[in-house]
C-alpha cells in the first residue's frame, strides 16, 4: 500500500484516498508553439523503472494537488512537496542523492 504525506493537510494519506495525476513538472506548450513541442506536452511521458516524480491529488482530503518523488520499482517514497514550484526542492533532491547517488530524471539531477 502506497502512503503519501499530503504537504497541505500534513496527514499521511493512503493510496485509496488519493488520485494519481501522472508525471510532474510538465511544461505547458499551448497555442503558438511548434507541433513537436505541443505533441511532447500532450503525449510524451517518461515511464522509468526507478526514480519518478509524480502528481497526486489529496482527493478525499483537502483536495489539493501535490508532487511526490518515489521509486516505481521499490515503492520507496523519497518525499512529497507542494506543487507551487518548477523543480523539486533542495531537501527532496538531497534525500534522493543520499539514497540514489548519481540520479537523474528528465533535466533534473
Amino acid at each position: 500500500m502506497l502512503v503519501l504525506n499530503c504537504p497541505y493537510c500534513g496527514l499521511d494519506k493512503d493510496e485509496t484516498e488519493l488520485s494519481a495525476g501522472g508525471e510532474a513538472h510538465l511544461k505547458r506548450f499551448g497555442p503558438g508553439s511548434s507541433d513537436e513541442d505541443f505533441e511532447g506536452y500532450l503525449f510524451e511521458r517518461t515511464n522509468p523503472k526507478g526514480l519518478h516524480f509524480e502528481r497526486w491529488r489529496c482527493a478525499f482530503g483537502c483536495g489539493k494537488w501535490f508532487h511526490a518523488a518515489r521509486c516505481t520499482a521499490t515503492l520507496e517514497v523519497f518525499g512529497t512537496y507542494k506543487a507551487q514550484t518548477l523543480e523539486p526542492p533542495k531537501v527532496i533532491k538531497d534525500v534522493i542523492t543520499t539514497k540514489r547517488p548519481g540520479w537523474s530524471w528528465r533535466n533534473f539531477s
Binding site: Y8, C9, G10, D12, F60, G61, K64
Partner: protein
Amino acid sequence: MSDSQPEGYVGLHQLRGLSMLTLRANLSATKIKSGIKKATGLDFPKHGMHTSNGAKSLGWMSPDELLIIVDSDECVQTIENLNKALVGQHILLEDMSDARAMFRLSGKNIREVLAKLVPFDTSHSGFAVGSLVRTRFAQVAGAAFMTSNDTVELMCFRSVQDYVFGLLQERIATWFRGLSIAVSLKKN
C-alpha cells in the same frame, strides 16, 4: 426503531437542525482569522483541527477552506456577522446546509467502529480529541470530527446519507455479533 437512549457500546444518531457554511479564503491571513473569531466568538482552529462551544463549531477543511457549523436558527445572523467582519477581504461564503448530513457515534468503543470504515489511524495518537479529518467512509467522501473521547461526529454528502447510515448500522452490528448488549439506533 427503538427510541431509547444509547446504552452499551456505541450509539448512533443523525444530527438535524444544523446549518453549515463554507468559507473559502486565505486562512493564514491574520485579518481573516481575527474577523472569523470576532464574528463567531470561537477560537480559530489549528491545522487539521476543529474548535467548538457545543452549539457552534469551526473546522479546518484545507488551507483555504473553513467549515462553520451553527444551529439553523442562527444561520442568517452568522452569515451577516461574517460578511460584516470580513468586509473588504477576498472571501467566498456559501450556505451549504442542504448539501451535507451529520451523524454522531457515542460510546467508549467508537474508535474501533470508526477503524472499520476509514483508512487512517483512529487511535488516540493518530486522531486526538479536537481533530477533524477529511477522508472516506468505505466508498464515499466524508469528514470525522473527534469531539470528545467518547463521541465522534461524521459528516457526509446528503445524497449518500442513507448509504452511510446503513454502513454505520452494519459496522456497529458486526461489532456486537454474539454479544448480548443493547444498541439503540435512532434516526431522528
